[in-house]
Symmetry: C2
Subunit: 324 residues, 2 copies
Amino acid sequence: MNKMMNEMNEIVEQIQKASKIAILPHVDPDGDCLGSSFAVSLALQKTGKKVQVILENDRPEMFHFLPGSYINYEAAEANDDYDTVICLDSGDLKRLGKRYVIFEKGSVTVNIDHHATNTRYAQYNYVDVNAAATGEIVYQFIHQLRIPICHDIATNLYVAISTDTGGFKYSNTTAKTHAVIAELMETGIPIADINRKIFDTMSLVKLKLTAAAIERIQFYHEGLICVIVLPNDLLCDLGVTEDDTEGLTGLAKSVQGVEVGVLIKEKEPGVIKVSFRSNEYIDVANIAASLGGGGHKRASGCTLNMNLDEAVDVVLKKLEEAFK
Amino acid sequence: MNKMMNEMNEIVEQIQKASKIAILPHVDPDGDCLGSSFAVSLALQKTGKKVQVILENDRPEMFHFLPGSYINYEAAEANDDYDTVICLDSGDLKRLGKRYVIFEKGSVTVNIDHHATNTRYAQYNYVDVNAAATGEIVYQFIHQLRIPICHDIATNLYVAISTDTGGFKYSNTTAKTHAVIAELMETGIPIADINRKIFDTMSLVKLKLTAAAIERIQFYHEGLICVIVLPNDLLCDLGVTEDDTEGLTGLAKSVQGVEVGVLIKEKEPGVIKVSFRSNEYIDVANIAASLGGGGHKRASGCTLNMNLDEAVDVVLKKLEEAFK
């Protein structure tokens, strides 16, 4: 604990000395890395520093409402004389994409993250695997820097923490998480609006896909296994993107009485992506590993290079074995 | 504030004097009244009092996991010599159903609630309309009674508060709500499991109904109005209960770009239940009122005694007017 306190203090010291700071969220930005990045940027701007959030490309539409500005990689390139580079929520340097060149040129590099797999790639690293979100760590940093948390910073941190905890529902949520959220809410942020935007807004495509997925639900092993198979032509017909299928494995898992939910998606003919989720006792990391994939006990996946029917057979056989 | 503190202290005093206590949640029990009732009952049992939670009938299956015992009205009748009766989460005496006779016989009656419409029907009343849930008030009472909050009490209060706030997403959620949840989580309750049981478990019937509802979605007024019409024969075919259709108006409202979501349900031929939800600016209380119903600005409803096609026409006309 003392070691981490020292690491935090060292980073605070470096940030206080910095004058032009680049903030790098990871590629394919999510709520946690965007909210954390904008929060740090808004906080440091209050202290008179020049700060720029630099994205690989654009941010997803659902996060357009987040207060905070950014430039993309191309705009940054022409202007990359940052003395300090802060990476947020990125487990390794690959997560920086093309912006690695900006990191490389930084005189001082900082890595703030909560992923257990973090490679501690920067000069100064602060990795707290017990934090529910990088946003939870950023909250502490802003406190340590004695910068008051305004409405806009609170909005960003609320989104960071709520998205990474699935709306405070996942097991990474702690008492501390709720205590931080209580503090953020003292600024009067409109949480009902925020939650509607991040959790309760669905594209029509995603909605139609959900209906199609439900129609395709199949049960095995006396209802303990629930499988959704999505052939490529259906995905093309509906105009589905990668993001749209997220959550469908969870849907399969959520059916009453089901232990394992499975999504078998024909990404293209011959390339089948399979994801597994379990509720209580089946170790789906094992199942995925036996098919060349990986993951966690309750959430895993693999890619099978075969046709869809073969893939369904292979997956069902492995699943049946797991219940023996 | 002082007045409420006095009211709380008076109730605490009465509870401390009580020896045999009946706890009455409201009819059609939800997470807040059940969680609050079991929490109070478990807490007071620790102090050596005889306490009985008395339900009108049974509790919904999703709440079977709540720690705490109860008897139903029939079992209580034979045994109804309670000196103190505590009503939880009930806005008026009608919410007690047949158990009104138990309330009537109580020497001391207590009413603890958070509904703005509460009629203060008991001898001792504590109504805090700023509390997100009755569970939030019960937390304070248990503190005031100096009874330690154990794992089982925390589980009940967590469910009470999380269900009444839609998983901390609704506007009734406050900083205090999260501060209370932080305290409850210090007992180590398995919140991921709890949340899965209360928020992420769906019956197959509800799932099939969701798919059917999505297939029936119609848009009007350039996508600002999203309407789902459910004919009675569909509801019968799927074996849908009243509970299953809950949430579908929210689904209509959640489609990207939609301002008003509407569910038009043919409960039986000639009896059409309509519910309205809006996102930002349309006052659906007005729309419902103009059709003989009522509710809030962002959530309202009415019942129309006409055939389904007529009802759809009437509702669409009112909606189009609201956008003028």
